[in-house]
Amino acid sequence: MAKRRADVGTLYRGSPGQWSWLAHRVTGVAIILFLFVHVVDTAVVGWGPEAYERVSSVYHNWFVRLLELGLVAAVLYHALNGLKIMVFDFWPSTVRYMKPISAATTGIFVLAMIPITWIMGAAILRLLGWL
């Protein structure tokens, strides 16, 4: 049976929070996948300095450092959006202000990411010898 037009190329139109819902999932999955690896690489410290330095030297790679910046962004977004979810869940009347509260959440996230990107970006550029 041929695909109906309604089945393809249309955007899911759920609640207004669909994008933050998606971002919450994506950042959450990214964080737990990183955590699986991170518990192991941190545990290597129990095998002495040589083993630990060998593992932590992956952070000398600029691409890993970009991922590190992404991780900080993911944790921050997930935390702020989670806080927003809790506000709506425990004080349902605030759902009336969903738009401004969502805008404030995004705003705080973006504002916080400006200095963080500046600091971590400078460290990456120094690593590459461009700064």
Binding site: G17, V29, I31, L35, V39, A43, G46, Y52, I116, A123
Partner: protein, 147 residues
């Protein structure tokens, strides 16, 4: 069915129903406790995990200053060992329950769903044991001169 009459069920949302951005609160039982746990642990992790990434990855040279000696000094304090262990425990449970909720949405066959959930649960348990052992037994004096 005629083309055009097909509508997404989400579009039949009654006008009176408030828009939702989060998972609906479960009626009771395990799911209600899981729902509540996600929120309480999330609030605690807001401080533990955000604090952790800011301390370890952003301020004061970030990851560049983290080496064996740094960890040895840091874990010299029971405060940071407790912090890291609490974060490990809460983040693993929070993350694995999050994966369970997502798996519920995307993995339909019950056998496969069970297998995927058991895989993450087992992995999480192994990592919890590994992390707990290392956090509480780490003794830098075994490598004199390194710290």
């Amino acid at each position: 069915m005629a083309v055009g009459t097909h509508e997404r069920t989400t579009e039949h949302r009654p006008e009176s129903a408030p828009p939702r951005i989060s998972r609906e609160r479960p009626a009771g039982g395990f799911e209600l406790w899981a729902w509540l746990f996600m929120r309480i642990s999330g609030l605690v992790l807001l401080f533990l995990a955000v604090g952790h990434v800011l301390i370890m990855h952003v301020v004061d040279e970030g990851i560049d200053r983290v080496d064996f000696a740094f960890v040895a000094t840091r874990w010299g304090s029971p405060f940071w060992r407790t912090w890291d262990w609490a974060m490990l425990t809460l983040a693993l449970i929070h993350g694995i329950n999050g994966l369970r909720v997502i798996v519920q949405d995307y993995v339909r066959p019950t056998g496969v769903r069970f297998a995927v959930n058991m895989f993450f649960l087992t992995l999480g348990f192994i990592l919890f044991v590994l992390g707990t052992v290392v956090v509480f037994t780490f003794d830098p004096s075994r490598w004199p001169g390194a710290a």
